[in-house]
């Protein structure tokens, strides 16, 4: 498959596909971070995670419409407002869902899977009824359009760069929250030993609710970023959910670093192969490799060592 290309061409292909892979990587990381927090830290399988992301995307879409029609002068910076709103909307819905649904199911992880799948069906239908079945896309402010030429054959898109830097910032914030803030400390304590955490005075129910809410909020921000590079429809969330779960499981469910690492591996493998093979073959090969590795190493790439 490499024979038809010269060496320098191959180099540029790898750089360009690597860049495309980085954008995919960003989306994976953003989706997987929220999921890793919820699944890895709480043991809850949230199949509706994609729908929380889509909620963020819709919020972004409506914010862009609002700014376009009401405050056109502030349009260039609408995205930052939209991101905050997306976080609040998805996080708020997450907290409500935790209260109504998830908290009854902590001891039955397989049942959270079924219940949240039901939730995802309901949310999809609600989106379809409220926002219409059509896919919507946001208009990018002018400074986000176009591309930067690096050499005469290699170009990178500005919105891609933006999504990447956004991912970097969000990851950093999540990392700081998990490892430096009081909330993060409590979450990690609850993960390591729920009973003892409760015994030293941590309100585990409150921590659970907040954790679920923040995980969903991050999904909302992911959805917001997602609008930069793709359009949004009621069922778009479902396209990503399996990939994202694989990313989290592959990385080692309780390790955030592992999640990032596996998102990088999977996205790079997929986008590099996509250039040489057809899209579906690339995806099949990537997923097969991941499943194969998981069979050999079920605990994932990086494992958090906990004494049970």
């Amino acid at each position: 498959m490499f024979a038809d290309y010269s060496l320098s061409e191959l180099g540029s292909i790898f750089v360009m596909q690597g860049f495309a892979g980085l954008i995919l990587f960003s989306v994976f990381v953003l989706m997987a971070l929220g999921l890793a927090i919820i699944f890895g830290q709480m043991g809850v399988i949230n199949m509706a995670h994609g729908e929380f992301m889509i909620l963020g995307a819709y919020v972004t879409y409506f914010t862009s419409q609002f700014f376009q029609n009401v405050l056109p002068s502030l349009f260039p910076i609408y995205f930052f407002v939209a991101m905050g709103l997306a976080f609040l909307a998805s996080g708020g819905l997450g907290i409500a869902v935790e209260w109504a649904l998830i908290r009854h199911l902590y001891r039955r992880p397989l049942d959270t899977l079924l219940a949240t799948w039901g939730l995802s069906l309901i949310l999809q239908q609600v989106y379809r009824s409220v926002f219409g079945p059509r896919e919507v896309g946001v208009e990018l402010p002018s400074w986000m359009m176009g591309s930067l030429p690096l050499t005469d054959v290699i170009e990178v898109q500005i919105n891609g760069l933006f999504v990447m830097s956004l991912t970097f910032v969000i990851t950093l914030v999540v990392g700081l929250m998990m490892f430096r803030s009081r909330w993060g400390q409590q979450v990690r304590a609850v993960v390591q030993n729920r009973v003892m955490a409760g015994a030293v005075g941590i309100n585990t129910h409150k921590v659970d609710r907040l954790t679920f809410g923040i995980g969903c909020g991050i999904a909302g921000v992911a959805g917001s970023a997602f609008t930069m590079i793709g359009s949004t429809g009621p069922t778009a969330g479902q396209l990503y959910i399996v990939d994202t779960f694989l990313v989290v499981v592959f990385g080692g469910a309780q390790s955030l670093v592992g999640t990032i690492f596996s998102a990088f591996t999977i996205s790079q493998a997929q986008s590099t192969m996509e250039f040489f093979l057809s899209g579906s073959t690339a995806k099949v090969l990537t997923l097969l490799a991941v499943v194969g590795i998981l069979m050999l190493r079920p605990q994932g790439l990086l494992v958090l060592k906990i004494r049970r």
Binding site: G43, I45, L101, H104, L105, P109, L110, D111, L113, L114, A115, W117, G118, L119, S120, L121, I122, L123, Q124, Q125, V126, R128, S129, Q238, V242, F245, L246, V249, S278, S280, T281, K283, V284, L287, L288, V290, V291, L294, M295, L296, P298
Partner: protein
């Protein structure tokens, strides 16, 4: 307790009621179009029965049963398609004698893995053997390494996704997103006539009753008890000297084989097979049939399947938007409020009254109430 063969009396009564329903009541009460639909639903019941054993009793939740249903269905469809694409019937193609979608995709000869499907015997063997072997492969790889619970569910789901992408992507070999359509005859016997549909319905119903009986047999055997023990305290079973992985693999393969038979009967009755029955969404829907019927009840699974599908058809005929809301609500309600489904409701509310009634009428039969029978 009295027994008829390996069945408790109450279980035998339950099976007899089911048999009366699907062999007599439905054929008499429904026209052929509706009966064919009911037959289609009953093919899903094979999957649901497999899930009762695998998930309810074994504690292994597979979110990829659609794969096995699909593989069984595809094996059957490949045979029927080859029969429908005889050189005479396809002489307008640039390569006569191969299925039409291969011709559209510029294939000039039949791929090697299609060759065995010229023979009905080999196809029928493949219907059961291919999915079972596939399940064996997944099962051994996973259970030997003690992957279970949530991880198993996610990985089976991923494999179902891979298989769907593969089938859709390899259009020339599999018929792509449209699947294998335009199936006509089975050994010269036209499967599209009303008469054939009646025959196929009864074949399917008979197979289903056999599957129910087989499931009861497995459940009352020592194997069935080990499964339950494994689900509740896996380590203790392992420390007692049982090879847990082998038992799990067996029940997973059994569920796969049952699903595959359902898939093959689906193809015969509906007349096509497509990737939309293989992927994640149908696989999870099949889990909900089981959950609604009651994950511990073999008969409940059959009634659950019929009920959910009947609701789906009638809802989506009159209010298409409401169906997804209803299905989603059903998922949540079953999980939150009725973890044992219809069978649980039956056992809690109807069975005690029925037993009191029976005891008053015929003291000899007191207390023998079908534990897994439906609540209708």
């Amino acid at each position: 307790m009295e027994r008829i063969g390996f069945l408790k009396t109450s279980e035998a009564v339950g099976i007899a009621i089911l048999a009366a329903l699907i062999l007599i009541v439905l054929p008499l009460g429904l026209d052929i179009f509706r009966l064919n639909l009911a037959g289609k639903y009953l093919t899903y019941a094979f999957v649901a029965i497999g899930l009762v054993l695998c998930w309810g009793h074994g504690g292994i939740l597979s979110l990829g049963q659609g794969m096995f249903f699909g593989l069984g269905g595809y094996a059957m469809a490949m045979f029927l398609k080859l029969e429908a694409s005889s050189p005479e019937a396809t002489k307008i193609q640039s390569t006569p004698g191969i299925p039409d979608f291969m011709d559209w995709n510029q294939l000039t000869e039949l791929p090697w893995f299609w060759q065995p499907f010229h023979s009905l015997t080999l196809s029928l063997v493949a219907v059961v053997l291919v999915p079972t072997a596939f399940a064996f492969l997944i099962g051994t790889a996973m259970f030997k390494r003690r992957v279970g619970g949530v991880y198993f569910a996610i990985i089976t789901q991923a494999i179902a996704a891979i298989l769907t992408i593969l089938i859709v992507g390899q259009q020339g070999y599999t018929g792509g997103i449209n699947g294998i359509t335009d199936l006509r005859t089975l050994k010269g016997w036209d499967i599209r006539t009303d008469e054939a549909k009646y025959v196929l319905y009864f074949v399917n119903a008979g197979l289903l009753l056999a599957a129910v009986a087989a499931a009861y047999f497995v459940r009352q055997s020592k194997l069935g008890r080990i499964l339950v023990a494994m689900r509740d305290k896996e380590d203790r079973v392992r420390f007692s000297g049982y090879n847990v992985a082998n038992f799990k693999t067996f029940v997973f393969c059994l569920a796969a084989a049952l699903s595959a038979i359902g898939g093959a009967m689906f193809t015969l009755q509906v007349g096509f097979m497509s990737p939309s029955f293989v992927g994640i969404v149908p696989s999870i829907e099949m889990v909900i049939y089981t959950a609604v019927g009651g994950r511990l009840s073999i008969l409940g699974a059959v009634y659950g399947t019929l009920l959910v599908n009947w609701a789906k058809t009638s809802f989506s005929e009159s209010f298409p938007e409401l169906w997804l809301l209803g299905l989603g609500g059903l998922f949540i309600a079953v999980v939150l409020a009725f973890p044992n489904g219809l069978a649980g409701i039956y056992a809690d509310t109807i069975a005690p009254r029925l037993s009191r009634l029976l005891r008053r009428a015929r003291p000899a039969l007191g207390g023998t109430v079908p534990a897994g029978a439906p609540a209708e």
